[in-house]
């Protein structure tokens, strides 16, 4: 029993780190622009497929193609902001809500059109197998992905706090008008944040593709879970998203362990409802 429980906690942590990385990208976009990106999970899917095709067609292992995924998603994010999202920024809120929904349906079905709805798996990634630590099994690809998530999150955190551009992003997040008055080009900050948010799921997609099924609709669930994490962590808070990601990973696996695995995602969505009800600003929001 304690060994099984340990195993569940380890599993929860490993999925939690991945959630954290996905949610950080979402919370950045949300915090800076006050826009909800419903296509966030589909960006993740694009990252996973990029990694898959680079492996299948050119034999590049996911571990090495991550920079390519990141760059590609960054550019994709910039373009989508420039040509689509920026057009609705001043429009009615309903249009802002629906535009990324349309984008989500479009991107995932573009993948269906090109690559069919089939499930795929990267056959022999460099990373595979498990470590056995005192009876608790530690999946190697998941562990490496978790380390990748920690390093990336730390990097984003330092970028925001230490660099001039990072500080400009945070300033825009706090008060758009004031930032504009201080001479910050908020339009540029918006597109940069959207690009970085997308690039982060590019990294997440690269890591996730080493051990998870790759299919066009894979982003839907991850995207919805990320909303709960962002709410719990506090909208726009990078640190909050990181901690909340891990918490949600743990709650999901432990909830499945103690109750019924069929309800694990229902428990995650409950977290969103309970958070916005009791503490709308989230754990670390203000």
């Amino acid at each position: 029993m304690p060994e099984q429980l340990m195993q569940q906690i380890v599993n929860g942590l490993l999925i939690g780190f991945m959630y954290a990385l996905i949610a950080i990208g979402l919370t950045l976009i949300w915090g800076v622009m006050n826009i909800v990106n419903f296509a966030h999970g589909d960006f993740l899917m694009v990252g996973m497929f990029t990694s898959f095709w680079l492996y299948t067609l050119y034999g590049i292992d996911p571990l090495f193609s991550i920079p390519i995924c990141t760059l590609l998603l960054f550019v994709m994010g910039l373009l989508i902001y420039r040509f689509i999202v920026s057009k609705v920024m001043s429009g009615p809120m309903l249009a802002q809500l629906v535009v990324t929904f349309g984008l989500s349906i479009f991107i995932s079905n573009l993948a269906v059109y090109f690559w069919t709805p089939d499930f795929r798996l990267i056959a022999k990634p460099l990373l595979s197998g498990t470590w056995d630590i005192g009876g608790v099994l530690l999946s190697i690809p998941k562990t490496v992905a978790s380390i990748g998530s920690i390093v990336t999150s730390l990097f984003v955190f330092l970028f925001l706090k230490k660099t001039k551009t990072g500080k400009a992003i945070l300033a825009t997040e706090m008060d758009r008008e004031a930032a504009l008055l201080m001479g910050i080009n908020t339009e540029r900050i918006n597109s940069l944040s959207f690009g970085i948010g997308a690039a982060l799921v590019g990294i997440a997609g690269g890591f996730l593709s080493t051990y998870y099924y790759i299919y066009p609709q894979v982003g839907g669930l991850f995207g919805l879970i990320a909303f709960s994490i962002v709410a719990l962590g506090g909208f726009g808070s990078i640190e909050g998203a990181f901690i909340a990601g891990i918490l949600v990973g743990l709650v999901q696996t432990l909830g499945g362990f103690f109750f019924d695995p069929a309800y694990k995602y229902a428990i995650v969505f409950m977290i969103y409802l309970i958070t916005v009800w009791i503490r709308p600003q989230g754990l670390l929001g203000w």
């Binding site: 689509i84 629906v98 066009p216 069929a262 995602y265 229902a266 709308p280």
Partner: protein, 321 residues
């Protein structure tokens, strides 16, 4: 003013007569089916519009109410032989009760926080129904064959009765919406939509009026759910509780024009046939082309027609004068 009113009433009269004689002229059942779906989605979009367009609560979880309506009447019919008409009222009441229960804690949420809360709610309900053994879990429910006839809310030989029933439902929903929009309550709804805080300061009981909007909307949506169950005679969580249904309702309302009485009907008139026919023409190979076009259209509409077709034409009309 008098002139405008008579003009409007004559338009409505013409539309109504056309709707009534349509299935007598066009007897193709595939076309009739699409029109039935159009009425059904229009009815639900009108219901969405009461809470979304007037009171400003953008719900992306209406599929839960649709499903609750479908399930309540079906379950009562299968297990207790309750007449579907009574089951439909029961479904509406259950949905309104659930709506109040979820709406109360969410009564201070605005904008996309509310929208995501409704998505979370819809997904939770779908997961629960997918695992709830009493109501068939993922296998769903098959409705028993009754004798048929108006009393049983079941017709075997023709689609016509379903057609007229759902048309009547749509008209009821429109009348409800009209009465609300011209009443004091309608002005309160709009005030709340404009600004929660200002409405509060003006002494409007925001929580109470938001709850009323949600409950009316849920009741009407659940009625459509019961209708759907009686129409197709088989329901499961994957067909009546999908997020895609909720999104379609939002889209219909937005495309037609949220916050106007006829907007959702116009939106449904464009979108339902479009999505049905693209599905029939392009969706059969599972290539995703139909959904591809659908997603593309949603994006375009939000970018270029964010206030909807109805708003676009009424603006044009005003400018022409």
């Amino acid at each position: 003013m008098q002139n405008v009113m008579t003009k409007q009433f004559s338009y409505i009269g013409i539309a109504l007569i056309l709707a009534i004689i349509f299935p007598l002229v066009i007897t193709n059942t595939a076309v009739q089916h699409v029109v039935i779906l159009f009425f059904m989605f229009a009815m639900m979009a009108v219901a969405w519009n009461i809470m979304g367009g007037y009171a400003g609560m953008f719900s992306f979880g209406q599929a839960a109410f649709f499903g609750i309506g479908a399930y309540t009447s079906s379950f009562l019919l299968i297990s207790y032989q309750v007449n579907p008409w009574i089951g439909m009222i029961a479904g509406g009441l259950v949905a309104a009760f659930v709506a109040a229960a979820i709406g109360y804690p969410c009564s201070d949420l605005r904008g996309h926080y509310f929208a995501i809360a409704t998505i979370a709610f819809g997904e939770i309900v779908r997961i629960l129904f997918n695992n709830w053994k009493l109501i068939g879990a993922a296998e769903g429910l098959s409705l028993p064959m009754l004798d048929g006839g108006f009393k049983d809310f079941m017709f075997h030989s023709s689609k016509l009765p379903y057609y007229y029933i759902i048309l009547a439902f749509l008209i009821i929903a429109l009348i409800v919406c009209y009465l609300i929009s011209t009443s004091k309550m309608g002005y309160y709804f709009r005030a709340i939509k404009e600004s929660h805080d200002v409405a509060k300061v003006l002494g409007i009981n925001v929580v109470w009026y938001r709850l009323i909007a949600i409950m009316i909307s849920a009741f009407l949506t659940a009625m459509a759910g019961s209708f759907y169950a009686q129409y197709v005679l088989y329901i499961d969580p994957e067909s009546v509780m999908l997020l895609a249904i909720s999104v379609q309702l939002v889209l219909i309302s937005m495309l037609g024009g949220a916050g106007s009485i006829m907007g959702p009907v116009v939106g449904a008139l464009i979108l339902v046939p479009l999505s049905e026919f693209t599905r029939i023409w392009l969706g059969h190979k599972g290539t995703g082309v139909d959904m591809l076009i659908y997603g593309f259209l949603i994006t375009l509409i939000s970018m270029y027609l964010p206030k909807g077709v109805w708003g676009f034409f009424t603006n044009m009309g005003k400018r022409a004068k």
